[in-house]
Symmetry: C3
Subunit: 154 residues, 3 copies
């Protein structure tokens, strides 16, 4: 089953990839690696109120996981635009997860699992990645989560 | 026009690359990739008072953009030292932007544009990169901005 | 002298590599690169009280350096598990250092030196890496330090 069919079977349709808002690009291919810019938890083109703010303050762990999941969906949308076809993905190599959090919010990995679980749901074993999760002081648009990715491609 | 001529036409001379201050190196080449250590907004060898502190507190967006621009200039200075000749750069693959910011400072991307714009000014289309921008709790020397880079090289 | 013999001569035995706690893996090999997930300052399988909390508050610089050193040891433990043999490492390409710190803690690089020094102790000149050090709002398990790595391998 293709990646997009798998996503569809779980009720997920990839959104149109967000356009860059400055002098950078959403994705760069170098050799067999695809680097994708940090993706915010955009939903229908905007960061919804439910996914704004800090874990440990205004955002619940569940809302944070949903935000992380949206970041992963947006990474795949960017990969599709860059590659033409998600079947070219051989492996998700690395995810970098940035959680907008208060200085005392501990369960950062649980939040990031929203992104990791989506990547494995979409790609199966090819979706199992190295990852780094940190809690940051602030993110663009006061988004709750931002995730960047490196993929190996064919 | 060469990268350095282009920079010169905009009044920019690359500084001498900063020496590492510990058991690490400014740049590592692996295959066709050049990884450059995070560069602070050093100007004449030091972080000037105007580029110290946090966005959202003591630093204006304009000063932050200037700090980000200095980081990009320092990345190119390190690339020149590592490569001998900036013409070996085929592409700026990725910039990672770290903005020293208060927990409520939103316009992180605008600050980081100071680095992205300089990279495109210097390298043209080869300078268009994937990027990730986050707001962090603190940076070395209380610098306002730190930027790291991956380049593809010939 | 092998990497492990060198470590042993300094009284360091690599621990068993920590298992992943979610839908990700400790390490991914792509081409000649080995990406290792961010490693916390685990000691005997847990983050000891001495290595929990923020630099600038409950943790001294010396304890932070020790935490960073533990992260580097855990990175090598993961590399050994991924590679079978640490002699396959040709170069430590990059370390990303994340220091759990208060907004006013300046000496981030000194803390990160605990990781850099260990890498050079273990690998000699092959251990000299590009690095980025930032102070973050929070880390998983309230760990004082997290470090991620990219290695070039044979």
């Amino acid at each position: 089953m293709s990646v997009e069919s798998t996503l569809a079977s779980h009720g997920i349709t990839l959104p149109e990839a967000a356009a860059p808002v400055a002098n950078y690009v959403p994705a760069v291919i170098t050799g067999s690696l695809l680097f994708i810019s940090g993706q915010l938890c955009l939903d229908k083109g905007t960061v919804q109120a439910a996914h704004k703010g800090k874990l440990g303050a205004s955002i619940s762990i569940e809302a944070g996981q949903e935000a992380a999941r949206l970041c992963a969906i947006n990474l795949l949308a960017q990969a599709k635009t860059a590659l033409g076809d998600l079947e070219r993905i051989k492996r998700c190599v690395r995810l970098g997860g940035f959680i907008n959090s208060t200085p005392d919010f501990g369960p950062l990995p649980q939040v990031m699992n929203g992104a990791s679980d989506l990547m494995v749901l979409a790609l199966g074993d090819k979706g199992r990645h190295a990852r780094t999760t940190i809690g940051v002081a602030q993110l663009p648009l006061d988004a709750a989560v931002e995730v960047e990715a490196v993929f190996e491609i064919a």
